[in-house]
């Protein structure tokens, strides 16, 4: 009998006073885990997804920027990655990958694809380097620092895209080697191989600069 009483018979439902407004939907808890927010987003909760964007947007943009070397393209890629994540939110399975690993994989794939598509175009790494060098006129120390950043940007621009992506992920704080490898869809050993070739190349290019 107590079970019957708990059933939602119409007379058992709470009644609202005439003119009273229904209670507002509870706010999404900003302290929720990424997996919990993705589960809400999968059910169409836009506020939950926006919390994820606030939490991980900067990192996604940074990884895209370091692979592409161009701020405007990096913004486009990061935005596209989040839109794809929104569309696929309902099929995200936290048992298979962490949200950050999944998001980084989308960002890296989009950024590498874009780098390959523009392979025939003039090197944007060089352009970005020139912009950086021009952006900091003034005291001698600033000029030297800008020159160092420009030299690094040129050297990074000359790396193959996957090696550049390996560097971008390896120097991302809070990302373990296993997560970086998963974002690149390679084994940890293969990631180490990419990093080895990238570091050797960068060292040879940056010697004396």
């Amino acid at each position: 009998m107590p079970m019957l009483l708990a059933l939602p018979f119409p007379w058992a439902l709470p009644r609202l006073a005439p003119g009273a407004r229904p209670a507002p939907r509870p706010m999404t808890d900003p302290a929720s885990s990424d997996a919990a927010l993705m589960a809400l987003a999968g059910n169409g909760d836009r506020a939950a997804f926006n919390l994820l964007v606030g939490r991980h947007g900067e990192r996604a943009l940074r990884v895209a920027l370091r692979i592409l070397g161009d701020a405007a393209e990096a913004e486009e890629v990061a935005q596209e990655a989040f839109l794809r994540a929104w569309q696929a939110a309902a099929s995200f399975d936290p048992a298979r990958a962490r949200f950050t690993t999944w998001l980084h994989r989308i960002v890296v794939n989009l950024a590498i694809d874009r780098t390959r598509r523009r392979a025939g175009a003039p090197s944007t790494g060089l352009e970005a380097a020139a912009e950086l060098a021009d952006a900091a006129p003034g005291p001698e120390a600033d000029a030297a620092a800008a020159e160092a950043r420009a030299a690094l940007a040129v050297a990074l621009g000359a790396l193959p895209p996957r090696q550049r992506a390996a560097i971008a992920l390896a120097y991302e704080e809070e990302l373990s080697g296993a997560e970086a490898a998963a974002a690149l869809e390679v084994s940890e050993r293969a990631l180490e191989g990419l990093l080895r070739r990238a570091r050797q190349f960068l060292r040879s290019r940056l010697e004396g600069s």
């Binding site: 997804f49 964007v53 947007g57 900067e58 070397g69 120097y171 060292r203």
Partner: protein
């Protein structure tokens, strides 16, 4: 560990020796104490590492804010997330059986096929049928 192997590990894992596996770390410490060349290699690796940490591009805070606002705007207009089809949902249901191996999944699939495709019997079998053929005491033959 020799200097060439040490240099390779520096390029593979980076110069933060504290993150290396214990055995390699101990071997590297021994080599560093004995070899000036190994120390020079470590210094060069540290210099590159420091430079990468300092000079790798950082996004502009205005770009981050623009990104967040742009996504919020697009998400507000975008359709709701696509629901997964029946196959991904079925695979998600079967995933708890995956630790038992592919054999268990194959056996489950065979059972389901057998139950689904086996033809129904025309008439239920009488469990006492064989007993009725036995002669009973007092029967007139």
């Amino acid at each position: 560990m020799n200097t060439a192997h040490f240099a390779e590990l520096l390029d593979r894992r980076g110069p933060a020796l504290a993150r290396w596996p214990e055995a390699d770390r101990a071997a590297a410490a021994g080599l560093l104490a004995a070899s000036a060349e190994a120390r020079a290699r470590l210094e060069a690796a540290l210099a590159l590492d420091t430079r990468l940490r300092r000079d790798l591009a950082q996004p502009d805070p205005a770009a981050v804010a623009r990104l967040q606002a742009g996504i919020a705007r697009q998400i507000a207009r975008a359709p709701l997330p696509d629901r997964p089809g029946p196959l991904p949902r079925l695979l998600a249901l079967l995933r708890p059986a995956a630790p038992a191996g592919w054999g268990a999944l194959a056996a489950m699939a065979c059972c389901a096929l057998w139950l689904g495709l086996a033809p129904p019997r025309a008439a239920p079998e009488d469990p006492f049928g064989p007993l009725q053929t036995l002669p009973l005491a007092g029967d007139a033959f």
